[in-house]
Symmetry: C2
Amino acid sequence: MAPARTRLMIDSARRMLRHGAYRKVAHLLEGMRPGDAADFFESITVQDRRRLAELIGRDALVHLLGALSVEVAAETFQDMDDPEFVTLIGRLPREDAAAVLRFLDAERREGILAKMDVSASDAVEELLAHPAGTVGAIMKPEAFALDETATVAEAVEALQRASDSGPIFYIYVTDKRGYLVGVVSYRMLLLARRDTPLGSIMKSDVSSVRADEPQDEAAALVSRHDLVAIPVVDEDHRLLGVVTVDDIVDLIQAKATEDIYKMAGLGSDDRVFCAPSRSIRKRLPWLFVNLLTAFLAASVVGLFQRTIQAAVILAVFMPIVAGMGGNAATQTLTVVIRGLAIGEVTARDALRAILKEGSVNLAIGAILGAFMALIALLYKGNPYLGLVLGTAMVCNMMVAGVAGAMIPLALRVLKIDPALASGVIVTTFTDCCGFFSFLGLATLLISRLAT
Amino acid sequence: MAPARTRLMIDSARRMLRHGAYRKVAHLLEGMRPGDAADFFESITVQDRRRLAELIGRDALVHLLGALSVEVAAETFQDMDDPEFVTLIGRLPREDAAAVLRFLDAERREGILAKMDVSASDAVEELLAHPAGTVGAIMKPEAFALDETATVAEAVEALQRASDSGPIFYIYVTDKRGYLVGVVSYRMLLLARRDTPLGSIMKSDVSSVRADEPQDEAAALVSRHDLVAIPVVDEDHRLLGVVTVDDIVDLIQAKATEDIYKMAGLGSDDRVFCAPSRSIRKRLPWLFVNLLTAFLAASVVGLFQRTIQAAVILAVFMPIVAGMGGNAATQTLTVVIRGLAIGEVTARDALRAILKEGSVNLAIGAILGAFMALIALLYKGNPYLGLVLGTAMVCNMMVAGVAGAMIPLALRVLKIDPALASGVIVTTFTDCCGFFSFLGLATLLISRLAT
């Protein structure tokens, strides 16, 4: 079985690496499939990667480079000698070359482009002109397309000639101005007579994306309509390239990681085994923002020091009210942010979403608040403590629902990424509101609570 | 452009629905592509869905049903009359029929199966026999396969005959015992002479998955090797079916939602616009568990009531220490859980992961702790308060890193889903440890802190 053999090879590569047998590891990597070799390559240190890159045969290295994540590729090859790097980049598919060059600093990128073949560097520069995050930046610039007047026999011949470039999933059909007018599948070619023009067998209702649309748009279309490739057009519907499903799969994976990461305030390249200094540098700012908002919540507690002095038991229950609000808010936030990400909710649904989440959390707050009031009564024998605790809980849970739905939707309208900023804003809300409602109510009833 | 037109259609469908014009909406949905109609269908109430399902033409309804998420499909059609439901299910591809039936309760499922055609119900029951979560449960049971002795011409004929079933991405090649021995692409067929046997042009190094392997395994292979379909075999390598990339895309999306949801303690079918009662029922248990662990943390505070009584300022700073530990722990947890999900980390890397995350958080804790000590000194003019605060912060951040890395890895070894249980365990740890270190140190230095 392939997976078991792969695992064996990776285990022995790891063992060899530990003993410094770089040459043997390089040889092993040459025999592995690019995807597997890339997985291994991404799990080792950058020093080891650079050393191995010098030893692996050029053919295998080009395939490996094509399968690596661009971050890792750029990190590994950024200090490679110019002539060698130029050769390597020149042999990559254009879109992979552009992706790696995009990650280098501008000076080095210009240097490499200047040393490349003019035809190659022109094609790559055209791709680099599309802003990062747009469909144009990830498309393959060579969509396989034929004129609508070409016959089935001519299409088959053209496919035979094209056989050494990447996989071709569909034959796109253009009119004489280069506008996309239809699509033909292999199956249609097999079924049709050899002298039929493509224009008369093509499917003319083709899904396409514009090069300047966000990549998410292409991912949504591919996943909604079960496509394996989607053609890319310009604003006049002229065919520019194609995005294939393997890129979409990578995109969806990366996007999911990014969303999960953003909610925890992590940078997209923070990994379990990246350099500790990178993790520290990336996490510190977000934790610092959280610290400042924590001071805000603490200053709410500070307003009520005399109340706490009079009934220290309040300090014991205080974190429960705030913490439960935070947990409920995280649930609401997660549902709303994910709903925004997969297109289930839009800002126009705001009122409905706020009402739904507010009422759900009100109900949960009533149940848990009653439970907590009972516990407080049993523990301290004081019904007023239970009353304060239960009421504060209900208030704070409702705030959690309303703020948890409202804030990400408002951020979306303001074009701020809700996944990034919602969490810290909403939990500051629930912390402050939890402390204020609990300690505020306690201050009103202090004569019944003081011990 | 297709997307703009789709948006217009969806907007007018929504408007018509508001005015109760169900018949018009049904008509509009019949004219939309199944994926678009399904998106709209999933955004409306179950009552509206059931009403529309009665009005949409059978052909369009079968396509719509195939494109819906199984949860929504089962919810919409569970109360439909038996004969009509049997007809509908009978017209779905086998794997879609099995997916919907899997979501119904056992009694209803048996009832439907008993009323279906024997050949259809046999095929569906065979699929239902594969446990949920395995590759077998999502495969299409009709892989297009030919014997290795078949010629190219015979393959083309067979493809022409097969033309009305689902998309065929590859032609799989089996030997006379039905064992998978190779794969042929359309391109190979076009390039080869018509009398060549498939056995002599096929690629014999085929990636495959076993039907009893987890679905994640198929997703990882497809994404690593940029495939559009992967054949499914039994333990003897006999060809059973195929999983196509559109299913893998759905799987990756669903898995990402599931991971994000689990970390917030949400059920997988909790949506912004699902019934509030479902959200309440699903969220309450997890919040209740959190409440119990919050009591544990509160009881740590309870141990130090006399210390707080002597220096109420401690109650003000107390939530900061615990909260920052919780935030740092969430970052570590997210990196480790995502690393486990995408296969970057395994339990064997545990020690390295714990050391890395512990040291990262120790460094961050030292920086933030020093900052907090300074603030406390400026605010209260008491260096001992700063000392207690800073030291507790450093301790708790380190605990956050160590526990945040250790607990998900330990849960993985114990075969408990780390995404589900790690959060509540780790934050209980950081809450208790934060309160204990801060108030414990304060108790030792109380004579310097009391005001």
